[in-house]
Amino acid sequence: MASLAATFGRGAMTNHWIDIRNADRILIIGSNAAENHPMSFKWVTEAIDRGGILINVDPRFTRTSSKAHLYAPMRSGGDIPFILGMIKYIIDDMEANPDNYNMEYIREYTTASFLINPNFKLPEELDGVFSGYDPNKRKYDKSTWQYQKDGAGIPKKDKSLKNPNCVFQILKKHVSRYDPKTVSSITGTPEDIYAKVCKSYAESGAVGKAGTIMYAMGTTQHTYGTQNIRGYAILQLLLANMGIAGGGINALRGESNVQGSTDMCLLFHILPGYLKTPDQKDTSTDSYSKRYYEGKNKDPKSADWWGNARKYLVSLLKAWYGAKATKENDFCFGYLPKRDVGKNYSHISLFEAMYDGDIKGMFCMGQNPAVGGPNCGKERKALERLDWLVCVDIWNTETANFWRRPVANDTAERVDPKKIKTEVFLLPAASSVEKEGSITNSGRWQQWRYQAVHPVEKSKSDLWILNELFKAVRGLYKQEGGPVAGAILDMAWDYGPYDEPDVHKVAKEINGYDLKTGKLLPSFGKLQTDGSTSSGNWLYCASYTEAGNMAARRGRSDPTGIGLYPEWSWCWPVNRRIIYNRASVNLKGVPWDAEHPVIAFKGAATGGKYTSKKWVGDVPDGGWYPLQNPDGSWRSDAKYPFIMKPEGHARIFAMGRADGPLPEHYEPLETPLKKNPIGHGMILNPAVVCWDKTKPEENPVGTADKYPIICTTYRVTEHWQAGMMTRNLPWLTEMMPAPFVEMSKELAKEKGIKNGDRVHVKTARGLMGAWACVTSRFKPFKLVGKVVHQVGVPWHWGYEGHSCGCSANILTPHIGDANTMIPEFKAFLCDIEKSPYGIDRANPSGELGHGEEVA
């Protein structure tokens, strides 16, 4: 998401599930969509039925691969060379066959033509780092990563794309090292297969053709995860696949409401609607707006939509503090919690702080870090250092029961609860069918759900739990006071007189009101900076209007015929189903793809000039005139298509990232290779936080001499996330009763392991017991002339529930991506051996339901 926002301006799946059917090429990489998003395959299958080609890249031949026309094996850790090699192929091919590509799109809609500061240097010139690197701070000074600007402050361009300082030429130089042979030696992908992938996917670059990329956690969960997606973004821009039907970069969210929860500020660095959380330097709405959002663009043709952020911030504060938020008190901006400058508050950081005793209590809602957290052995120990822990869940999770966990994986012995001081509370929560509300899916559709049944026994909705908690905390502040008590006491909090809060009142608050009339607002275009409007999330302004609850709509009409279904539920922003769709038309507003037009300009024209404004199709992403008139003259009242970026163009060169404006290959924290095979001295992403150095306790790193095998983790169709919702259902556990480790026949032979044997997988962090699944679906890789094996384990299991088994996250390290700190679950080193015991020692009988006896 960090990457998509950096490139295009919004962190979300650009298209939507149904739209996959419009693709001519589907590249599934870093995702096992058939297994983990089976419903997506309804549309992948339909695309294939319509003649589409499915390409799948994965270390292992999966259920997704089984349906692919082209399967390319790639070792975990080879993502960036794989994509940069494709980009090199396309740039080379583009020069030989420009007619096969949409050059107008590249020239006019992307930053390919923008000129960069001549002092900017690439990693090939600086032994593995971009210009501006400070090795002591492990941070970049980004002053050279900037556009050259003219006297008016507008970025300089060279539309011939020939200037050596233009983004296109910099990119060309940067990827020139990633020739097929080098790529093959880094990724382990056979050269002939790689050539087929490049050729087939590049065909989606033709005008009127569409290629889509479907990715998930296999892409993101790396120390360079953000840069992986940047690679996809550049690839898709060169192929003119953004904004069109059947195109886009489609982040498959692993949970039905991940998009909704990030929209609503689940993450520490954003407020609702992706406004930045303020830090200690931000002292007023004015300084905040100027620092992050205002005055970033001088080009009158760029809409620079984020320039409106002040309206959204003030309206958010009005939603939270109501009448107490006034112009005089700067709309209670002072009440917002401020981050310490430069401090990270993501999952790993929080658990490190907990381990160090800096955090005393934790609310854990719908999450099970004792199974799902990286290096979960350390994280389970961190839980012991809490004074109190509240778990809110529909099941009794491993996290709620960390005080009776096994002392190690693959053993029956348990820790002594008497020695653990943490007081643990478990609040039974209502499941999704037991409460009313909405979820927002990957495709940004907000879908309203009615309550199907009443909650079981005394379980309560999350809303009820938070409402009661807030009221209790406010009661205590009233009685006892406290620091910044006003932040709690002044909060507007009215969700009805009943025991169960009125979820419609919440939804309406999120949409927002015209505070002068008391009416619900029709869209975020109406939001103001003067405190006369409120909106709990500007992106959702238009979701619940005077016309009703848009998310509850179930209209089935499809006027465009490309599957947009604009009256089914509601979609942010402003019910626009395919974002950046202004790039789906040429400079004159005519769709590139006449067969699948997303939008089209139908205004009247006289004398070769447009005289009236009318777009048809999807809600246009910026309703201004097209950039050119029918006669080819440029219009001064038009805007560039990527309205969420200050320069109005999609960024091939993204200066906002912590670890470089272009992706570069670095190895995972644990790698079987001794040096970076691309040929420079920087083996690990130079901008990541190295917890093994800053917090060495319980953060060991394995090396290839002891742990020569690459290991990765993944999910299976039959189980879900940390497993609580599925490991307790016998119909699912009978299909996938226990954790297993998949390995090649070659490795099994080397290690004397037979299919079905009990095996120990060991890393520097710990040991996992699992059953061997010996298969030709895994093959050894040849990396830089050396044979390297890879194995994989599903991570769903833990020590509670109907089906128990060793947690794979005992194996994974505490290290995260340089931008997002998402943990590197997908590539680390291990060794395997046949278990000396031959059985699951925690469950010698092998019966399902064993875990319940402990409870």
């Binding site: 089976p38 309804k42 299958t45 298969t775």
Partner: protein, 258 residues
Amino acid sequence: MTQKAMLIDTTKCMGCRGCQVACKQWNQLAAENTRFTGSYQNPPNLSASTWTLIKFIEPEGDPIRWLFRKEQCFHCGDPACVDACPTGALKKRPDGIVWIDQKICAGCKYCVHACPFQTPHTDHDTGTAKKCRMCIDRVDNGLKPACVTACPTGAVLYGAREDMLKVAKKRKAIVEKQTGASVRIYGETELGGLGVITVLADKASVYGLPEQPKKPLLLPRWLIGIVPGAVILYGMFKNFTGVREKAEKEEKAKEGQS
């Protein structure tokens, strides 16, 4: 009456097993106590409480393939089980559905042995034979079988047999053109035309099916002629005790719960 059929298109199946769970859910079949033995396929085979399952097949060779085939009763056009059944519990309906009337089944296992696909299995709790009944209760009320409704990709369809054959032939043409594989429409003519037609992208044997399924020669129908009374009486007795035993068991279970 229109002949109905199910179409299983292995070329569209991605092995998600939504069908396997939907079958258990609709028919309220017990989960089995399984172990991981080296394959995703679980439970390992059909049983009295598993009426459909996905077979996971990894044929040797290059390029690598992973094949999935939904296994279940084929609802044969000329069903050996019906011929073998001495009590008339096994019936073939005019629309093609072959089902076992649990009230009449004597538990003699003749069907279990007669089936060329080893589909029916004896339920040791009730003493009767069980297998897929094409969600008779759903289709008679205008619904599709549970597995069809659950399938995300349209790999499992249900409708007029003629239409299903048309879809199968269309798929054969597309897949053969896209992949060069030789596609077989299994069940078009086999055993009198099966009520479950399967689109296979290779030989039947690769998918664990007999290339030319045959009705067993030894059909015990003649036995019925020789000792009809004995068999029927035995059946009635078994049925009576079976039903009674089941009723008692349920009674006990209820007591145990309360």
